[in-house]
């Protein structure tokens, strides 16, 4: 009797199964890619990146996403609202098993006509890993004021973000220009500005110190570049001021009215320079050492007075004509003697202003920003990334650019990736984008830093500033940075190299000001 019932049930179940198989339709193919945000279609990803969570922006519900690769199990995700959050473990495994191969994304949505399948897309998994951490400053889209800010580090292999230093524990100070010796978190520096405790924090050879790089020759240093030997840091010394336009989508603009380069010798606590890099007739800025330490790249423009023009008998500044050229000067690290100064790329031949040169770790390329004018590309929509091949001399506008400002780039330690700030999503908040570069300088499509919440960037009205790739976690506790900043016994006052003569330096000033609440 029991067997009879069992047979009956099994037969019924079999019929139902057969019917469901027969009735189940194959999803109707749509001959287009799905709209997803962030756009992770057809990109190249490092094999150690966190899951690229995204949102399907198509009508209908629910959604099915299948992520497959030649090796291992595919990842199947169902979502009612189109938010696709990829399980971390499965993602890590599929990347690890398929390094050098591709991930295939198949996305389906159910609408009034049943299941629809979008054209699949792929992500190439690069065997070139990216540095595990990204350090950046998070600030409001600043015009003049600041209140809250902090330098953070994000583990790119997960979604963990932790503060390196926040101004909640530094009496509300401004902090900027975090910089590392060859992507090494154990040798790093940053500036703190705004009242007592201001200075440059340098962690060098295991000692964290605060340095006042201001001397009778110069104000405190600004844009840094660490010499590959680790023994010295080149700084620009700038006098920046902000002005505003009445009619353009990005109304902010910045002017540098005087700038020079200095070199801070860390071990000797001494500031030195040379007339070739601190010429009163020119404005030198954005230093960048070549990886062999035998030359210094920087940007240079004639001084501000040379841009004063007479308009209707009245003197006016032709701010839109201020353009910087890319320069290089030879340097002997042993004797510390400066050599020949040469123009690598002139503003004239580039028909624009060159800023932020960054030499690739293999010394083959210089990645730089070009904008219509000025030295503050983050506020210029015309700012784009360019690459100079140092072997061939060929300059190329990179395919990763957008209609918004693309600037502030940083190479990974292995030179196969770079990160840059782009405002392409909304025009006013910069986001870190990553791009792969092969040994021939060929680029992949850039992709934005993944977030656990795929809709994160929609409502996050803060800007990611100065993204710098770092090999590993910065281990110094934020409180240690804060305590050092306020501990005058750890303060070093830089000495001036006796060969240099004191000169008018003016007050230390800042582009931004703390808010009075």
């Amino acid at each position: 009797m029991a067997n009879k019932h069992q047979n009956f049930l099994l037969t019924g179940f079999g019929i139902l199964l057969l019917a469901s198989i027969l009735w189940a339709k194959e999803p109707a193919p749509l001959n287009r890619l799905p709209r997803i945000d962030p756009d992770y279609t057809d990109i190249q990803v490092p094999s150690n990146i966190a899951p690229l969570n995204f949102r399907v922006q198509e009508e209908g519900e629910p959604f099915r996403v299948s992520i497959s690769a030649p090796e291992g199990k595919s990842i199947e995700i169902k979502s009612k609202d189109g938010l696709i959050q990829i399980p971390m473990k499965k993602w890590k495994k599929i990347l690890a098993d398929n390094s050098g191969a591709s991930l295939k994304y198949e996305i389906e949505v159910k609408d009034e006509e049943g299941w629809q399948a979008f054209a699949p897309f792929e992500n190439a998994i690069s065997s070139d890993t990216i540095d595990s951490y990204l350090a950046y400053r998070i600030i409001d889209p600043a015009f003049g004021l600041w209140v809250k800010m902090g330098i953070y580090q994000r583990n790119l292999e997960t979604f963990d973000e932790s503060p390196v230093l926040i101004n909640r524990i530094t009496h509300g100070k401004c902090m900027n220009c975090h910089n590392f010796l060859r992507n090494d978190p154990n040798n790093m520096m940053m500036h703190l500005r705004g009242g007592e405790g201001s200075g440059t924090l340098i962690n060098w050879k295991g000692e964290l110190r605060k340095v006042d790089t201001g001397t009778p020759f110069n104000k405190a240093g600004a844009y840094p570049s660490w010499h590959p030997s680790g023994e010295m840091i080149a700084y620009s010394v700038n006098k920046l001021s902000m002005f505003f336009h009445s009619e353009r989508k990005e109304s902010r603009d910045v002017l540098d009215s005087a700038s020079d380069l200095i070199v801070y010798l860390i071990g000797e606590n001494t500031v030195t320079s040379d007339p070739k890099i601190s010429d009163p007739e020119r404005m030198e800025t954005f230093p960048c050492w070549a990886p062999d330490g035998r030359s210094l790249y920087f940007c240079s423009s004639p001084n501000l007075e040379s841009y004063v023009v007479k308009k209707d008998g009245v003197e006016d500044l032709a701010w839109d004509r201020i353009r910087y050229s890319l320069m290089r000067i030879a340097f002997d690290p042993d004797t510390r003697e400066w050599g020949e100064l040469e123009t690598v790329l002139s503003a004239g031949e580039m028909d624009g202003s060159i800023t932020e040169p960054r030499v690739s770790p293999d010394g083959k390329f210089v990645l730089f920003t070009k904008a219509d004018y000025s030295n503050f590309p983050i506020y210029l929509k015309s700012a784009d990334l360019y690459m100079l091949d140092l072997e061939t001399g060929k300059v190329e506008r990179l395919s990763c650019n957008s209609l918004e400002a693309d600037s502030f780039h940083s190479w990974s330690g292995n030179g196969r990736w770079f990160v840059f700030s782009s405002k392409r999503r909304d025009g006013f908040c910069a986001r870190p984008y990553f791009c792969h570069v092969d040994e021939n300088g060929k680029l992949s499509k850039p992709f934005v830093m993944p977030q656990n919440d795929p809709a994160f960037y929609d409502t996050f009205i803060k800007t990611y500033n100065v993204p710098e790739l770092v090999r590993e976690r910065i281990k110094i506790n934020p409180r240690t940075f804060a305590n050092t900043a306020h501990d005058n016994s750890k303060k070093y006052k830089a000495q001036l190299d006796p060969v240099l003569q004191p000169r008018q330096t003016g007050e230390d000033d800042d582009l931004y000001r703390p808010a009075v609440q």
Binding site: L145, R168, S246, E247, A515
Partner: protein, 606 residues
């Protein structure tokens, strides 16, 4: 319990209930009418965005959750009755807790008005406009947790210590200041018990140590916060504001009550109790407490702060006639208020004809804020330049407001509209996404999102269309330090920009810059005035008098103005020797004229 007993008890409690109701009604009314929840809203500019990121950020520091929740409630303070209700409910909770704590304490039997006294001090604390909701929530929590621990007073010391530790840690995470208050209450309540239970010294000692250790651990190891925040967050001395007196009063009354209540004395039906229970005393308490609430709050409210924020609120709501009606001596003391009053004068078509009827002692700063003050009131400044179509400058100051206040509904909505005007759809969309995450602005966000999705809809937005038409088409470098240059440039690019014109003329009058005034006077004919505005005529008379002969053909002041000018000169001459009395006489007759401003305002303000 017999029915008679219940009745008797009900009758005994009747005065307490009646006083409670009267007190709460008076508390609600003083919040609503005297303190003004709208003024609290403007002073606080609450930030509450319901995103996981904002929530996690709030959880990252002790007290953050209370800040977040209180900001969420405070969003509704623009509806003033809701704001008053929130605060009254909190006051009721504090009252209930204090009453519960003092119940059955024999010494205080009969003095049932006692629990009202700390609440009265609380009402006074709210008059300073500094974080009233978060701080009051913190006090409520501290008292609530203290009340819970009191229920275990007769349990073993070990249990009480565990309770103190567990509840203390939880309370600390919610409100560090409340935690400190809670521990002080524990200590105070335990001191009188030392004679009967000397072992309680352990509880006192550990409570004292706990008050020091936990905040120290918090700022040195656990959270990235300052030392001050670790110990005092949510207590009034976190703010640099003269709020201390009502707070100290609150603390004294609270601690005093708890201390007295902790002294256990056998009940004696003596003379004191008879007096307290006498019908006259009962009625006196019933009347006195609500009356005192009204009087003390009215006396202690910071009238200048209230007025500034009341005017800022009205201006934000574009209630221009109400702005002018709300103007008083407190308002004109504040330069930002003066700019809002002048903005209201423009919107009610009175700037060119009646601005000097209002004290213009702030001169040009009272028309348009100089940079240093604009950085303190960026949103108000942004709205002024926005109204004249100077959209990028409005965006700049809205961005400063975003930094200063955070993602408040006003700032986010203003930014969204600015970006819609600039047809910067991606940026507008972003602000609208955030706006959609702020409770009270959700509907408006959806409305504007429709415009972003279909920009054709902008045609149906009359105000936005008007402003869009005023936007300058050609770029110029703006200058807040020389606003007349911006007004000129705006006018040059859009000759129909009436606000830019009136502000340019008002600026030239306030700056006594007759050259600019004369240069742009002829343009008044482009703006459909019935006749030349009164102040222009008054300035023209002076200009003609100064220059002797001027090349402004066809620009003749009215005979009435000329006649009044002659009278002014006569009276001024006659009263010259009277000193201040003379000036006062002149002010009474001619205080609303440009002539009076020209000669005497500087003397008055200087």
């Amino acid at each position: 319990m017999s029915e008679d007993n219940i009745k008797m008890r009900g009758l005994r409690n009747l005065p307490i209930l009646a006083t409670g109701v009267l007190f709460l009604v008076s508390f609600y009314l003083v919040i609503l009418k005297v303190i003004r929840p709208a003024a609290i809203y403007v002073k606080q500019m609450p930030v509450f965005v319901s995103t996981s990121h904002a929530f996690h950020e709030a959880l990252a520091y002790p007290g953050g959750l209370i800040d977040y929740i209180s900001s969420g409630f405070m969003l509704y303070f623009v509806k003033e009755w809701i704001g008053a209700l929130f605060l009254t409910i909190l006051c009721l909770m504090i009252f209930i807790l204090i009453t519960a704590l003092l119940q059955k304490r024999t010494l205080l039997k009969g003095f049932w008005g006692l629990p009202f006294l700390p609440c009265l001090a609380l009402a006074m604390m709210l008059t300073n406009y500094d974080r009233p909701l978060a701080d009051t929530m913190s006090l409520t929590l501290a008292l609530g947790v203290f009340w819970i621990t009191q229920q275990f007073n007769k349990k073993s010391l070990a249990l009480r210590l565990i309770l103190l530790f567990v509840l203390g840690c939880m309370l600390y995470y919610l409100t560090p200041g409340g935690f400190l208050l809670f521990l002080v209450l524990i200590i105070i309540s335990q001191i009188p018990t030392l004679i009967s239970s000397p072992i309680n010294i352990i509880l006192i000692g550990l409570a004292g140590a706990f008050a020091w250790i936990l905040p120290t651990l918090a700022y040195q190891w656990i959270f990235l916060i300052s030392k001050k925040e670790a110990f005092l967050a949510h207590l009034p001395w976190m703010q640099n504001h003269p709020v201390m007196m009502p707070f100290i009063l609150f603390i004294i009354l609270l601690f005093g009550s708890i201390l007295l209540a902790s002294i256990r004395i056998e009940p004696k039906v003596g003379k004191g109790n008879r007096i307290l229970n006498h019908p006259v005393t009962v009625i006196a308490q019933m009347i006195l407490i609500p009356v005192l609430t009204v009087l003390l709050v009215t006396a202690t409210v910071n009238k200048t702060t209230r007025k500034i924020h009341e005017i800022r609120y009205l201006a934000h709501e574009n209630r221009w006639r109400d702005v002018l009606a709300a103007m008083d001596v407190n308002a004109i003391r504040h330069v930002t208020c003066m700019t809002l009053i002048n903005q209201a004068l423009y919107h009610t078509n009175q700037l060119a004809s009646n601005m000097f009827a209002y004290p213009q002692a702030w001169e040009t700063s009272g028309l348009i804020l100089p940079a240093d003050i604009a950085y303190e009131y960026p949103l108000d400044h942004s709205h002024i330049v926005y109204d004249m179509g100077h959209v990028t400058e409005a965006e700049r100051w809205a961005a400063e407001a975003l930094v200063l206040y955070g993602q408040t509904p006003w700032v986010i909505e203003h930014q969204a509209l600015i970006n819609i005007l600039q047809e910067d759809w991606a940026a507008a969309d972003k602000y609208l996404q955030v706006m959609g995450k702020i409770g009270p602005t959700r509907e408006r966000a959806a409305h504007y999102l429709d415009i972003v999705k279909d920009p054709e809809r902008l045609r149906y937005e009359y105000r936005l269309q008007q402003l869009k038409a005023l936007r300058p088409e050609n770029n110029f470098v703006t200058s807040i330090n020389y606003p007349q240059k911006d007004f000129e440039a705006l006018l040059q690019q859009n000759p129909e920009n009436k606000m830019a014109y009136e502000y340019l003329m008002a600026h030239s009058l306030l700056a006594k810059d007759f050259q600019t005034f004369a240069k742009f006077l002829p343009k008044y004919k482009d703006f459909n005035y019935h006749r030349m505005p009164r102040h222009f005529q008054e300035a023209l008379v002076v200009y003609v008098a100064q220059k002797g002969k001027v090349d402004l053909p066809g620009f003749q002041p009215d005979q009435r103005i000329l006649q009044r000018f002659n009278e002014f000169r006569q009276v001024a001459q006659q009263t010259r020797s009277y000193g201040n009395a003379g000036i006062q006489q002149l002010k009474e007759q001619f205080g609303d004229t440009y002539w009076y401003y020209l000669i005497y305002t500087q003397i008055e303000s200087g």
